[in-house]
C-alpha cells in the first residue's frame, strides 16, 4: 500500500516567525553557541564532580553524618548575596524569601520556621519545623535537596513545590517537576509526586499500639489531593481562602478556585499573599480562556507587592493575556516592559513568540 495521507502539518499553523529566524541567523553569522544547551556531558561532569567532592570530603573528614552541624562551608550553598545561610530561619508576621547562590529560592509563609540540617557541596538538607514553605530548586545542580517535616522527607531533583506542616499533618504539593516523599506515614513508604499532584500525610507515625492504620489522611490513589468540597464562607480568613483555592486548583476545579482567589484578593488585599493570589488568578483565567479577566488579575498582581521571584512570571503572563485578548499594541508594550526589566528572562523566547518580536 503506498497511499500517501494528507500530511498532518496542513492542520497546523506555521511555527516559524521572522523573529525566530533572525535570532538563529544572528547566532549562525557570529558562530555563537546556543544559549540553552543542557549537555549530557555537563550533567555527567557535574555528577562526577559531586562524587569527587563527596569522596574528597569524606577523605578529609569534612562531612559528618547526616544531621551533624554544617561544616566549614567549602562548596556549601549560600545566600545570593554571598552570605552564609543561617542555620535556622523563622518568618515573622510577613512572608520571608531566601534567594540562594544557585538561583534556587525558599519562601516561608508568615509564622513558619525552617532549620538547615546540612549544607555542603552536594547536600542541602532542611527541616520545616512549622508553617509552610515553597521551594524552587534550580535543576541540574550538584546538591541533593531534601526537606524533612516530622517523619516525612521530600527528596528533590529540580522542581518547585510547597511543604506545609501542621501539628498533625504534612502536605506536599508539587507545582513543577518531580519529588519523592518518604516516611513511615506514606503508603508503601514512598510516593512519587509529579506536577499538579499533592499528598497529605500524618506528620508522625501514631504512637498508640491500638492504631495500626497508618494515616487516615492518605489519599487512596495517586490523584490530586482534595476530594473534599473546599467550601468557603463569607468572612473566612485569608488562610482558609488560600488553602481552599489551592485545593480547588489542584483538583481541577478552576472556576471555583478563581472565585475563591478573587475573594481573597478583594477581601484581604493587605494580606502578604494577595499578590500571589492575584497572579495565580491571572494564570487560571488564561487557562479558562478569559483573557480580559486575566489582564485585570495580573495588573492587580503587579500593583500588590509580588515577591521578586514572581515578578517575571507576572510580566510574561500579562503579555500572553493581552495577546489572547487580541490587543496587540498593549501586548507589545507589555513585552517591551518585560524585556527591559528582564533582559535575560527565562520566558524571553515565549514572550517574543507571543508578540512576534525580536
Amino acid at each position: 500500500m503506498t497511499e500517501q495521507l494528507q500530511p498532518l502539518k496542513t492542520l497546523l499553523r506555521d511555527p516559524v516567525s521572522a523573529a525566530r529566524k533572525q535570532a538563529v541567523w544572528r547566532r549562525i553569522a557570529t558562530r555563537s553557541k546556543p544559549e540553552r544547551r543542557t549537555g549530557i556531558a555537563l550533567v555527567l561532569a557535574g555528577a562526577a564532580a559531586a562524587l569527587l567532592l563527596v569522596a574528597a570530603g569524606r577523605q578529609l573528614g569534612f562531612m559528618g553524618p547526616p544531621g551533624s552541624a554544617p561544616h566549614p562551608r567549602t562548596g556549601a550553598l549560600q545566600l545570593a548575596d554571598g552570605s552564609v545561610i543561617p542555620s535556622a530561619v523563622a518568618s515573622g508576621a510577613t512572608r520571608l524569601q531566601l534567594s540562594l547562590s544557585d538561583a534556587s529560592s525558599i519562601e516561608l509563609t508568615p509564622g513558619s520556621e525552617l532549620r538547615v540540617r546540612q549544607s555542603t557541596g552536594n547536600v542541602f538538607a532542611t527541616e520545616l519545623l512549622r508553617g509552610s514553605a515553597r521551594f524552587q530548586v534550580t535543576p541540574g545542580g550538584p546538591r541533593r535537596w531534601s526537606v524533612r517535616a516530622g517523619e516525612v522527607e521530600v527528596r528533590v531533583v529540580g522542581t518547585r513545590f510547597v511543604v506545609e506542616r501542621s501539628a498533625s499533618e504534612v502536605r506536599v504539593a508539587v507545582e513543577h517537576g518531580v519529588v519523592r516523599v518518604l516516611g513511615p506515614t506514606v503508603a508503601g513508604g514512598e510516593r512519587r509526586l509529579v506536577a499538579g499532584e499533592a499528598l497529605q500525610v500524618a506528620a508522625e507515625e501514631p504512637r498508640s499500639t491500638s492504631a495500626p492504620t497508618r494515616s487516615p489522611a492518605l489519599p487512596p490513589s495517586p490523584r490530586p489531593m482534595s476530594e473534599e468540597p473546599a467550601r468557603v464562607d463569607r468572612g473566612d480568613a485569608a488562610d482558609d481562602l488560600f488553602a481552599a483555592a489551592d485545593r480547588l486548583r489542584l483538583s481541577g476545579n478552576l472556576k471555583q478556585a478563581a472565585r475563591t482567589l478573587a475573594r481573597l484578593v478583594d477581601e484581604h488585599a493587605d494580606d502578604p499573599r494577595a499578590a500571589l493570589a492575584a497572579l495565580t488568578l491571572g494564570r487560571i483565567y488564561i487557562q479558562l480562556e478569559a483573557p480580559a479577566q486575566a489582564v485585570r488579575a495580573l495588573q492587580r498582581a503587579e500593583q500588590l507587592r509580588l515577591p521578586p521571584a514572581l515578578e517575571e512570571e507576572a510580566a510574561a503572563w500579562l503579555v500572553l493575556a493581552y495577546t489572547n485578548l487580541g490587543r496587540s499594541a498593549e501586548a507589545r508594550e507589555a513585552a517591551a516592559r518585560y524585556r527591559a526589566k528582564f533582559p535575560d528572562g527565562q520566558r524571553r523566547t515565549s514572550v517574543d513568540a507571543w508578540t512576534g518580536a525580536h
Partner: protein, 217 residues
C-alpha cells in the same frame, strides 16, 4: 483526522501571526529562485561566506518548521537549526552534488534533531530536563481546527512521547511532514524497508490509541 476520542482542553498560545512584522534589518523571505542553489553552494565552497545568508534564507523555513515539529519544543528546535546550518556550512566540501543541498541539509537537521531528542530523553530519565514542550502537534493546531481534532492531536502527541526515537522521527517525517518514503529513508540514514517498518510500527500505536484503522504504506 478521525473521530474525536476525548475532550481535552488545550491552552492556546497564539503567535498572533496576523500582526507579525519583520523589523528593519530582518531577514526577508527569499525571492523565488532568485539565485540558483548550486551557484550559492559553489560560492560558499570558494570561501564566500556571504553565500551562507542566501542559503539560510532559502531553506530556513523548511528546516525550522520541520525541527520544531520533530522536537515539539521551540528552544531545542532553534538550537538544532543553528547546529544544522553551521554543520552544513562548515562541511560544505563533503557535499558531492551541489544541487542536492536541500536534501543534504534536511538529513543533517534530522540527525541533529534525533540526537537532541535522545539527549532530552536521557535528561528526563535522570531528572534533569526542566524544559517545557511548547510546540506539540496539539499546541500547533491551526486556528479554527475543531476541538475534536485538537484532542486527537493531543493523543498523537502522547503516543509519540512514548515511541522509540527512530520510529518517532520516521513517522513524523512521513505523516506530519509528508515526505516520500525515499526522502524519509535518506533523512534517517536508513533503508526504505527499515523506515517502512518503523513507520508501520509507529502507525499501529497511533491507530490503537485513536481507535482507527488506517491504510499504511
Amino acid at each position: 483526522m478521525g473521530r474525536a476520542m476525548s475532550s481535552h482542553v488545550t491552552i492556546a498560545m497564539p503567535m498572533n501571526a496576523g500582526t507579525r512584522q519583520a523589523s528593519p534589518g530582518a531577514i526577508q523571505a527569499p525571492a523565488a529562485s532568485s539565485r540558483p542553489e548550486s551557484d550559492l553552494v559553489a560560492r560558499l565552497r570558494s570561501g564566500d561566506r556571504a553565500a551562507e545568508e542566501g542559503l539560510y534564507r532559502e531553506h530556513v523555513d523548511a528546516v525550522m518548521g520541520m525541527a520544531i515539529r520533530l522536537l515539539g519544543r521551540t528552544c531545542d528546535a532553534e538550537d538544532v537549526v543553528h547546529d544544522s546550518f553551521v554543520t552544513a556550512f562548515e562541511h560544505i566540501g563533503q557535499l558531492r552534488d551541489a544541487s542536492s543541498f536541500r536534501a543534504w541539509l534536511l538529513r543533517v537537521t534530522v540527525r541533529h534533531a534525533h540526537r537532541r531528542f535522545r539527549r532530552r530523553r536521557l535528561l528526563q530519565r535522570l531528572g534533569f530536563d526542566s524544559g517545557q514542550d511548547d510546540a506539540t502537534l496539539a499546541q500547533l493546531a491551526a486556528p479554527g481546527l475543531s476541538s475534536d481534532a485538537i484532542a486527537e492531536l493531543a493523543k498523537i502527541d502522547r503516543v509519540l512521547a512514548e515511541l522509540p526515537a527512530s520510529q518517532r522521527s520516521a513517522w513524523l517525517l512521513r505523516r506530519v511532514e509528508g515526505l516520500e518514503l525515499a526522502e524519509v529513508a535518506a533523512a534517517c540514514g536508513a533503508s526504505i524497508s527499515a523506515v517502512k517498518r518503523r513507520i508501520a510500527a509507529a502507525q499501529a500505536r497511533v491507530d490503537h490509541h485513536l481507535g482507527l484503522a488506517v491504510d499504511d504504506d
